[in-house]
Symmetry: C2
């Protein structure tokens, strides 16, 4: 029952960056642009298109400058680039990026394991990037990773998330993205973290990034919606992570988020069924079996509508 | 983050009836009792144990009287029997059932397709059963099927659900179970139906029954929880329906509901990991691939804890 709730929700597609960067197979910039074109064709208007990291560290993101130069429908789509440091920021801006993302892990062990710095040191680095972006008219956004639970330290105190959300916002981040990096969040924890963050930043400037490792991502999306969040990251077909099962450990699938939101009456601009051929194309491109929790059902519906026989009745 | 919410939620296991009745393989009463024993061993205290229907119509439920005579821990577990009519009611009570379920489809087409009667005629039949049960000290419960969407008639008006909930309650049903028979519900619709029903029955006497066909079951559980519902049907491993994919079209899986509720801090009395070997046992018994959305992750955790190597790291 699609009861109109008269409200729009943004789906931010992260497949071309967060999704692809952990894949065994590296796509060429041309293939990545093909993927992005398909995504944009479905109506997606927020896309994380790549990362300006060292190609030695992340070969999957090599040639992101080429991707940015070739991006389609730039006037209609908000493309973001991940930047790990000031050099990355400069490369991103030189390639035409107008939205840059920084990613801060909010627990010491996680941050140290990742980049051998304290959280405070990293926060200071990102503050400089966000301040410079502000000064240069570039939109800065800050991810707060392992915001609910850290694989090393366990549950994270919501006040810690609030603290860094406030710092990143003060440095110029227009948007704060609360990320459940390991897929360990639950609706009670989501509510607690969002309540803490909402004390320092309006939730209209907060997005959520969930992983579906334990099958709880859509429940967490619903908890965030109920709290007032109106933007969610998602990855086509659940692309990302190191899946041992289709869609099981990666990002929450774009089709799942689009179906949940659409069926609830939210306007996302995306027809979930239109994502079916894109998931299939990404499967071909990456050689990975993909598909979120709704994919089998959506595929059936899509094939029936196309008059295809295999899954129809 | 398991934040204590100081609240108990009942999981009603329907695998031995709703789950098994659609399986290609028919289990013997002895096998069904083995399954029930395993379920009870995990802490489940509400179990739908069988159905007193004609064995010609539903051979999978043949010998339900034998099952009821052999039920373990009868003093600790609330076992329910589905009864399609007065004859079924009498057989159930004769076999020792103290809780009987009737199932009313609330749309005309669905009810007619199923049993060639109008909804009103069926409602009257069930009223007689519920009244007799009340008089005889047997607990009567009423399912309202296709309560959100009907495969023939589309979305269902919440006022229709309210109407039949009120009738069944007035006839003596101590519990009303709102069932998303085809897995088409969404949180907006769930909220609307529960609001309508709560005007005539306290939600402490309402349970919800969701299918995970579109991957939205846990979001619907969360919406029901938020509305005040504290009892949910679930089926071990998602057993039930006619799955084309593990857990994809059947009942919401017990392990998924237990994980969601437990991680949110609700007390269900069930350790989700303890369900892993039971899912595996049911796979062996039925020859069906099973497992809810959390099953892969739970299996990894379980095997790691058991010291098993295959899924550990």
């Amino acid at each position: 029952m699609a009861t109109a709730v008269n409200d729009s929700v943004v789906i931010n597609e992260v497949g071309p960056r967060d999704g692809l960067q952990s894949q065994g197979k590296t796509l060429t910039p041309r293939e990545r642009l093909e993927l992005i074109q398909r995504l944009v064709n479905t109506g997606l208007r927020h896309v994380e298109a790549g990362s300006f990291v060292s190609p030695k560290a992340v070969p999957q993101m090599a040639g992101t400058d080429e991707v940015f130069h070739g991006l389609p429908s730039k006037d209609q789509v908000r493309y973001a680039a991940l930047v790990p440091n000031m050099k990355g920021y400069e490369l991103a801006v030189a390639a035409g990026a107008r939205v840059v993302n920084v990613v801060l892990s909010v627990t010491e062990t996680m941050n140290y394991e990742n980049i051998r710095r304290t959280v405070d040191e990293s926060a200071a680095d990102f503050e400089r990037i966000l301040e410079r972006a502000s000064a240069e008219g570039v939109a800065g956004q800050a991810y707060l990773a392992v915001a609910f639970e850290c694989p090393f330290e366990g549950p994270v105190n919501p006040e810690v998330v609030r603290h860094y959300a406030e710092r990143m916002s003060a440095a110029g981040a227009g948007k704060i993205i609360i990320a459940d990096t390991i897929g360990a969040a639950n609706p009670t924890g989501v509510k607690a973290v969002l309540e803490a963050v909402s004390r320092v930043i309006p939730l209209s400037r907060v997005a959520c990034h969930f992983h579906d490792t334990r099958g709880l991502a859509l429940a967490n999306v619903l908890a965030s919606l109920n709290a007032g969040v109106r933007e969610f990251d998602a990855s086509i077909g659940g692309l990302g992570g190191c899946p041992f099962s289709p869609g099981a450990t990666g990002n929450v699938a774009t089709e799942d988020v689009a179906l949940l939101l659409g069926s609830m009456g939210y306007d996302t601009g995306i027809d979930p069924q239109a994502l079916v051929p894109v998931v299939r194309a990404v499967q071909s491109l990456t050689g990975t079996e993909l598909g979120g929790k709704s994919f089998r059902w959506l595929s059936q519906q899509y094939d029936k509508q196309q008059g295809g026989g295999s899954n129809g009745r």
